[in-house]
């Protein structure tokens, strides 16, 4: 993949409003012309047709191109309304709600809700002030206690590592936009808000478990993203239903909360951590696969302790998942991409060619 595409992809994905991409108006210049010029230049870089050689790069380019067009349309309409480049709080999506405001060196964010209370951090929901409606929603994660700043910083380090090497798996990972420190010395991270449901919510919606074919596409995508992360030498180390998310409309999945990621185990989850965590062994990709298998059993409505799944789940699929949750780290599935390949074969064997089936929440 060329550096120009990497850089442009990152630039587009980091933007929260059209001005971030097309720049602020300069007196004496026709802003519409400038925007058009920059749009043409960037679309040359990210146009999918320019990346036909490699399907993976093409998919990334498609994602960036779609987003670029959204920003371009937004810029046009802002110019038409005469508000392009104005930086008022009345602009964009942040005009609603009260909440409190966080100001960083980069920009301001208005916090309007609490999304989650984690074990070390609180996650707030809000908007970039002046951000565009489709791109300005954020999740702001703040350490409850400065003693846990190292874990917040660890996630930042990991996400940066992923962001410097964008790939088609990027769309399954959180996008980090900004960082700050509160007056009480707590570290905070601004992430793009993910329009998705964590797996506890999914299971709430499906108390008896989700249909197996849905579990299969979710597992496929998760194996792909874990394969990518493991290839970067990163083990998540804390996969559980709260850290896996599904976006029903586009069949996307996300792996979130990389605070505990790295080469050694930092946290124990009684249900979802593999036995080697208790034994304080070296963390391995197989540990993530164990936790992932447990999450799948949960999502399918199974018994997470006994590794059993509802009768209706195809026996071959059950055995496939049970291979992930063997107690011995050496006896279970080891390699996410290898299992991805096996799963593709198995899906075809059980359900025929993969097809898009609507998943509703």
């Amino acid at each position: 993949m060329n550096e120009e595409l990497k850089y442009t992809y990152d630039q587009i994905m980091q933007a929260v409003r059209a001005e971030d991409i097309f720049g602020m108006p300069v007196e004496g210049q026709d802003i519409l012309e400038t925007v058009k010029k920059i749009y043409r230049k960037l679309s040359m870089v990210v146009h999918p047709d320019r990346h036909n050689n490699d399907p993976d790069t093409r998919e990334m380019a498609e994602e960036a191109f779609k987003r670029l067009n959204e920003f371009y349309q937004k810029a046009e309409s802002k110019i038409e309304q005469g508000v392009y480049g104005t930086h008022t709080e009345e602009n964009g999506s942040a005009k609603r709600g009260n909440g409190f405001v966080i100001k960083t060196r980069k920009r301001k964010y208005r916090i309007t809700s609490t999304i989650a209370q984690g074990d070390i951090a609180i996650v707030y929901g809000g908007d970039c002030i002046g951000g565009d409606d489709f791109s300005g929603k954020v999740a702001v994660k703040v350490a409850e206690n400065p003693e846990d700043n190292d874990l917040i910083q660890n996630e930042v380090r990991i996400l940066r590592l992923f962001q410097t090497e964008p790939s088609k798996q990027s769309k399954h990972l959180p996008v980090m936009l900004d960082q700050f420190k509160t007056s009480e010395n707590q570290l905070g991270t601004v992430l793009r808000y993910l329009d998705a449901y964590d797996w506890y919510s999914v299971r709430e919606k499906y108390p008896n478990g989700i249909p197996q074919e849905h579990a299969a596409w979710m597992l496929t995508r998760l194996l792909s993203v874990l394969g990518y992360c493991h290839s970067k030498g990163v083990v998540h180390g804390n996969i559980e239903p709260a850290h896996l998310m599904t976006s029903p409309k586009d069949h996307n999945v996300f792996v979130i909360d990389w605070c505990y990621a790295g080469s050694e185990f930092k946290v124990l989850n009684e249900t979802y951590s593999p036995p080697e965590v208790k034994e304080r062994q070296t963390s391995t990709p197989a540990a993530d696969l164990y936790s992932l298998g447990k999450c799948l059993i949960y999502l399918l409505g199974g018994d997470v302790k006994r590794n059993t799944m509802p009768y209706g789940v195809d026996q071959r699929f059950q055995r496939f998942i049970q291979f992930f949750v063997r107690e011995s780290a050496l006896q279970r599935a080891q390699d996410a991409w290898e299992m991805y390949g096996k799963l593709m074969e198995l899906r075809t064997e059980i359900w025929g060619q993969p097809r898009f089936i609507e998943f509703s929440m």
Partner: protein
């Protein structure tokens, strides 16, 4: 594992297993750096039984007997590292009911190996890892082109007790090696290593036949070693042919 064509979601064909798993494995391997057969794996005077249970009512015994002599080179470590996954994969694929594995290590009793036969109990869970960690990779052998496969065959033919045999089924026995067996099973070696008194040496052929009464027996000859050997043989032939004034290059046979 391996093989299969990956498409769609996968960006690269690189293995996703990071360094750390390799380190974890080599730590395991180094745990077996003792200089003798672990008492748990010493078969002398003992049987190995594969019994049915409530949890596993239809056990399928599977024996994996690895040649651990020097001629096996580096790939023994690769096989050794992947063996634990074997049981998980058999269950995943549902190849046989209730697979229960006994790992064994084969050395060379005729070249002074200190542990020419190491035999693990039949297990189907975490205990398999323990057994593997206890196997001593002696890396002996004497360059005779033979290892004591027949001694291991003798042991399993006479000292494995398999519930499946009573049900009219056989176990599966895999030798993994790259050399030949000795034509006789020496009675002295049987006495020393297994503890049986036999009146005379036994023809290896008879012993393997006996083993086949209990097991379906396979010999896995790793492809890589074979190719390497063929390359060696080809090189040697080329040298001989050319030294004799013959033509080697550009001569093809369709046979």
């Amino acid at each position: 594992m391996g093989g299969g064509s990956y498409s769609g979601d996968v960006a690269q064909r690189t293995r996703s297993t990071s360094e750390s798993i390799v380190r974890a494995r080599s730590q395991r391997a180094s745990a077996s750096e003792r200089r003798e057969c672990h008492p748990d794996l010493n078969p002398k005077g003992k049987n190995r039984e594969c019994a049915d249970s409530v949890e596993h009512p239809k056990t399928t015994p599977i024996v994996v007997a690895m040649d651990v002599t020097r001629s096996r080179g580096e790939d023994i470590a690769v096989i050794y590292g992947k063996l634990p996954m074997f049981i998980g994969q058999i269950i995943m694929k549902n190849y046989v009911p209730d697979p229960t594995i006994s790992f064994a290590a084969v050395g060379d009793a005729s070249s002074g190996d200190k542990a020419p036969i190491q035999v693990g109990q039949f297990e189907s869970d975490n205990r398999l890892d323990e057994i593997l960690s206890k196997i001593w990779l002696e890396m002996g052998g004497g360059g005779t082109g033979q290892e004591s496969y027949e001694l291991t065959a003798y042991y399993y033919a006479l000292h494995s007790i398999l519930a499946c045999n009573r049900r009219g089924k056989k176990g599966y026995f895999f030798f993994i090696g790259d050399e030949g067996f000795y034509p006789i099973v020496a009675k002295d070696q049987i006495k020393v290593w297994i503890g049986d008194d036999v009146p005379r040496d036994l023809p290896a052929v008879d012993v393997f036949r006996k083993l086949q009464e209990k097991h379906h027996v396979f010999f896995i000859y790793p492809q890589k070693t074979w190719e390497e050997r063929r390359a060696d043989i080809d090189a040697e032939m080329q040298q001989r042919v050319e030294a004799a004034g013959g033509l080697y290059r550009g001569v093809f046979s369709n046979q």
